[in-house]
């Protein structure tokens, strides 16, 4: 452990600089709606209202050193429910950045370092040539073993395509077959797409370490990669924070980009509407129930309810309207799962699970057998709290269920299906 001291920040002053008029901390009514609605309340004896009160009282030393900032997932639910629109996640971000590197949770720091260790921007440190190799290898196998997919494509570094598609490292690194369903979807809709060997990775933990400079550099690598290939749309895969860090980063750092940022979910919806993805729920003969998790990084913090509505449109088509049960609250008011903000990487397991209890209750109340979510972090966290609190639900990606519905889900692509779904495929 280093003996480097944490600098004491002046939170009140910082808030003044940061927050637009009308949303300053001084407007706080101390009503407590934020704390009441924040799953991190009570952890480390802190909550959002208390944080604001302490900032106004000048208790800067306590705020500069409280480990609670690593429990706040920066999900912005507090702001969503605050009648004065006060956003404390920005101060949490600054507080995080202020911690000496050696004292920050090593998991987050390490992930950010790995991201920056190769041109891939992969948090698992997977270098470009390995990514190219894995994609190629998996593609070959699918072409050889799966009927109907002899000509499947997974283009790499193809210039001028419409879509630049990113990829979470977890798949090429530890479950490569999970990449295939999405390739099949692109194949079916005739998408003009490419992977890139540079800046391909989806995850970005540098933002969560509060390190502006590192965050910028990661985004820069990715923006350059898209620009170099001349793609029109950077299409974000099923991942919450990778979209947010890119989208917010581009604004924050005033970057010049001439492509659009889009999320896969909106395209799933569009392709289904256009009839290009002829999914249906006929397969769900046993009326298995599904719910959906709205990742705050793309719903509350970015698109708002429009993408949440797209998600529901897709889910209902996939599983049948009567088999979809919404969590409460949902869409922009949804609770963060507790895996975000680097919490899953931070090593504070007890805290993370206490946070996740809200999510567990939400899921349990639906009595659904599966949660669908277009976010890797949400996925991991919901699986973990499910096991921990004794839930009996599964968590599935959208691509899995889309291919299942289309009857094209390969045998190695069924990792997240429980016995009830597997039984339908035999």
């Amino acid at each position: 452990m280093s003996d480097q001291k944490t600098t004491t920040l002046n939170f009140k002053e910082l808030a003044m600089e940061l927050l637009p008029e009308g949303a300053s901390f001084e407007a706080c009514l101390t009503c407590g709606l934020c704390s009441s609605g924040c799953p991190a309340s009570g952890l480390e004896n802190m909550d959002p209202r208390k944080f604001i009160r302490m900032a106004l009282l000048g208790m800067d030393e306590e705020l500069s050193t409280t480990p609670w900032i690593w429990c706040c997932t920066q999900c912005k639910r507090c702001q969503h429910v605050c009648p004065m629109n006060i956003d404390i996640s920005q101060l949490v971000f600054i507080a995080r950045g202020n911690w000496p590197q050696e004292k920050k949770p090593s998991g987050i720091v390490r992930s950010c370092e790995l991201i920056r260790s190769t041109d891939s921007t992969s948090a698992m440190g997977l270098p470009p040539e390995d990514f190219i190799f894995v994609v190629d290898d998996v593609l070959k196998e699918v072409r050889e073993t799966q009927t109907g997919f002899e000509k499947l494509e997974a283009p790499m570094d193809k210039p001028g395509t419409h879509f630049f598609v990113n990829q979470n490292s977890r798949e090429p690194m530890s479950e490569p077959d999970e990449m295939v369903p999405l390739w099949k979807i692109f194949d079916m809709v005739g998408a003009d797409w490419t992977y890139s060997s540079k800046g391909w990775a989806a995850e970005n933990f540098c933002m969560f370490s509060g390190d502006d400079d590192a965050w910028y550099k990661v985004i820069k690598t990715r923006v350059d990669a898209v620009n170099k290939l001349g793609c029109k749309v950077w299409l974000n895969t099923e991942c919450g924070h990778s979209y947010y860090t890119m989208w917010n980063g581009i604004h924050k750092f005033n970057m010049d980009v001439n492509f659009k940022l889009e999320s896969l979910v909106t395209y799933y919806a569009q392709w289904i509407r256009e009839g290009k993805l002829p999914v249906n729920s006929d397969w769900n003969v046993n009326n298995i129930k599904f719910t959906v998790q709205d990742p705050c990084m793309i719903v509350r913090k970015a698109y708002g309810d429009s993408i949440a509505d797209d998600m529901r449109f897709v889910v209902k088509k996939l599983v049948g309207e009567e088999n979809f049960i919404d969590m409460q609250p949902n869409r922009s008011a949804n609770y963060c799962c507790g895996g975000g903000g680097g919490f899953l990487q931070a090593g504070m397991t007890d805290h993370r699970r206490a946070y996740g209890k809200r999510k567990f209750d939400q899921i349990a109340a639906t009595k659904a057998a599966y949660v669908l979510t277009p976010c890797h972090n949400c996925h991991s966290q919901m699986e973990d709290i499910g096991h921990f609190y004794g839930g009996d639900y599964g968590v599935v990606h959208f691509w899995t269920l889309i291919c299942l519905s289309l009857g094209i889900l390969g045998e190695n692509e069924r990792t997240y299906l429980g016995p009830d779904l597997l039984a339908l495929l035999d």
Binding site: L33, S36, G37, G42, V81, P83, I250, D305, D361
Partner: protein
């Protein structure tokens, strides 16, 4: 970055998502007027859940039993009060339509009756109100019949104390007792009603709570709980808990942040989009302009700029707390259009010396003026624009806190404003 601005066209745009704004959207929906609504939820999340029409007449000591008679008296007492221009039949119709909508969407309410209900406040004092959520209805009845009752509260829950309720009521209700229990799986630290309510949506939590309640019920016939019976399906949760315990159960509101207000907010946010209302929650309109054939609202949300074009606009932006009015050194102004604000002549007159002065403070009657068709009056004494209407507590000449008439003013004026919009659009 290449971004698309979002653009919507509707017949009506409602600015404000307090009770007035939400009521206006409901009335417009029932009249099949296409509607967009923008606004932060404001005070909705703070309400007790009780819908007050008129609980007190200014200057009177006692509370009002019959609000309909009192409204007649209001005409003499406060001639410019916004409720005065509205017939009792319209007020009743407005409350009926509003509560029926809430009921259909999952929060059952009592219909407006011929007299006020005597309801329990968080502290166990009594207050007069017109409509109560079904989850709270058994409380006033048990109080009236003095049924043997235990008020159960929870370790770690602030803002609600069974002992305090009993202390305030035991003279009138001798069979009332208080017990404190531990909420299932929430053994330590501060616990929030919102969190408890969500936990009770899970069957296992209900079963565990039912056991703990049974253990302390003694010979009670009725159990009073702080308002925590679920968030989005409270009537079901109440029935389930009654089935599991064998007792009749009622809720008492807690201090904010309280569940009944959050229930309403989440209900509106859930149901409005499903019913076709374009809802842009948690955002403020930054500019409102008019031309001959429409009004244009501009705002920005997390994802970028939004423009709404509407044939008519209802301004329901509330007062100081919500930002509809702003208090400055030089005086009070209306924040969006700078409409003239009726207000005390000078700042010194805003407040009497004593905050508790029984005459009330002049600033609490500040607001905008409207004509008979609920159109705000501009600088020149004429309606500001034929497409602009207003509703809610932004209207001048009422002190809703002192007259216990918050929801009443919001609901009744929204009803009339939508009626005027309908006439204008479809004349």
């Amino acid at each position: 970055m290449i971004e698309e601005a979002r653009y919507f066209e509707t017949e009506l745009a409602v600015i404000g998502s307090g009770i007035a704004g939400c009521a206006a959207s409901i009335f417009a929906l029932n009249k099949k007027i296409t509607t967009a609504q923008v606004g932060n939820t404001g005070a909705v999340a703070y309400t007790t859940g009780y819908l007050d029409l008129l609980g007190k007449l200014e200057g009177d000591k006692g509370a009002i039993d019959n609000p309909w008679d009192a409204i007649t008296a209001l005409k003499d007492r406060c001639p410019d009060h916004p409720l005065n221009g509205i017939s009792a039949a319209d007020i009743r119709a407005a409350f009926n339509e509003f509560t029926a909508f809430l009921g259909e969407c999952g929060i059952a309410y009592s219909s407006p009756g011929d007299s006020n209900i005597t309801a329990l406040s968080p502290a166990g004092t009594l207050k007069k109100t017109l409509c109560v959520p079904a989850t709270m209805a058994a409380g006033p009845k048990a109080f009236a019949a003095k049924t043997a009752c235990v008020i159960v509260d929870f370790k770690g829950l602030k803002g609600f104390s069974g002992k305090q309720v009993v202390a305030n009521l035991h003279k009138q209700w001798p069979t009332l007792k208080a017990e404190r229990i531990v909420f299932p799986e929430m053994l330590s630290g501060e616990i929030y009603p919102e969190v408890m309510a969500r936990a009770l949506e899970v069957e296992k939590t209900r079963e565990a709570l039912a056991e703990s309640i049974k253990a302390v019920a003694g010979n009670a016939k009725v159990i009073g709980l702080p308002a925590v019976l679920g968030m989005h399906n409270p009537d079901f949760i109440k029935t389930e808990l009654e089935r599991l315990t064998g007792f009749e159960i009622f809720e008492i509101p807690t201090m904010p942040p309280s569940v009944p207000g959050i229930r309403l907010r989440e209900l509106f946010e859930q149901v409005f989009p499903e019913k076709g209302i374009i809802l842009i929650p948690q955002q403020k309109v930054s500019s409102l302009t008019f031309d001959d054939d429409s009004a244009t609202l501009s705002l920005t949300d997390n994802h970028g700029p939004i423009t709404i074009k509407a044939k008519a606009v209802i301004l329901a932006t509330g007062r100081f707390l919500s930002g509809g009015l702003e208090a400055h050194i030089t005086g009070i102004n209306e924040s969006l259009l700078n409409l003239p604000v009726t207000q005390p002549a000078k700042r010194d007159d805003w407040y009497f010396e004593q905050y508790t002065d029984s005459r009330g403070h002049a600033i609490h009657k500040a607001g905008i003026e409207i004509d008979d068709s609920f159109r705000p009056i501009g600088e020149d004494g004429r309606p500001y624009h034929e497409r602009l209407f207003a509703a809610g507590i932004i209207l001048a000449h009422q002190d809703w806190i002192r007259s216990r008439s918050g929801a009443g003013i919001a609901i009744a004026t929204a009803y009339k404003a939508v009626e005027a919009v309908d006439n204008f659009l479809h004349a």
